[in-house]
Amino acid sequence: MATHIPVVKAILSANDAVAAENRAAFDAAGLLAVNLMSSPGAGKTSLILATLERLPPSLRAGVIEGDIASTLDAERIAARNIPVVQINTGGACHLDAPMVRSALSHLPLPDLDLLFIENVGNLVCPAEFDLGAHLRIAVASVPEGHDKPYKYPGMFQKADAVVLNKADLMPYIDFDLSAFRHGLSILRPGIPLFLLSCRTGQGVDEWVGWLTAHLRARRGDHGG
């Protein structure tokens, strides 16, 4: 006899439960956690470095670096005397909440104001795995083309803001900014878009201002 058993469980509910624990740990430490997601080479590490450079000196940041292998990105961060933990996913194409949880014990969370979590370069899976970060940022770049929101809607649907890096290349590349914006607007009406260039510094201050406003709002909400 066949028996039907209703389950109705979100496939990633186990991940989401750990993500909630991570979020509670971030809240307890009073920090703002930011999950940066993009395809390989869009400039996640460069964005972190450019952000660190322009942060008000009173703010301390830490970084979790996700990579399939290698510590190259972590070394770039550590060279700035920033607390950094490397997670090598050993082939997995995204970070998940348990990986982040295991990295947290290696960071001085109570001393941090901001925690950047650099996901593995990939426009599909990272969007599905909640890490517990307060903000999910999709980083796109001009050379990738303006069709990314149309081809990878899941990533942009779940983002809280979009950074379009390498904006200094706009004059040299057939990038249709209005088509890019339109793609975002049909997926996430009103989502903030930051046009910036980590190379020239264009737009970085606006991005940093938005982040620090979020940090202040969060602390206000929690009475800290």
């Binding site: 006899m1 058993i5 389950v7 109705v8 469980k9 990633l12 809607p153 899941g154």
Partner: protein, 129 residues
Amino acid sequence: MHELAITQAILSIVLEAAEAAGARRVTAVELTVGALTGYVDDSIRFYFERLSEGTLAEGALLRIRREPGEGRCRACGGAFPVEPPLLPACPLCGSPDIWITGGNRCLVERIEVEDGDPHPGGEGHPQRQ
């Protein structure tokens, strides 16, 4: 590659539910997969077949229901299904004033189990595609 972790999560939910029900074997698994997640059905099937080997769910039939995203148009008020790549305009009236919802869910809806079959490879073998 993208579907490996998803399929591991599917399998662990299935096995947990089957064990809780005291089932001897899982014969079918019903999934809902949103079209905008980017997951490929064949890839989920491929990994499920391999990961489930030697478990209660070995040989189970996967029934995958694709859940389309839904687009809506502010100009004509129409609704339409959405699959990537997205169209920049309403397929009904051509207006670009559209928005898109849903299509991101990923659920194990239910499982079908058999109990009391002591010979999993015997006559009661579940049908395969």
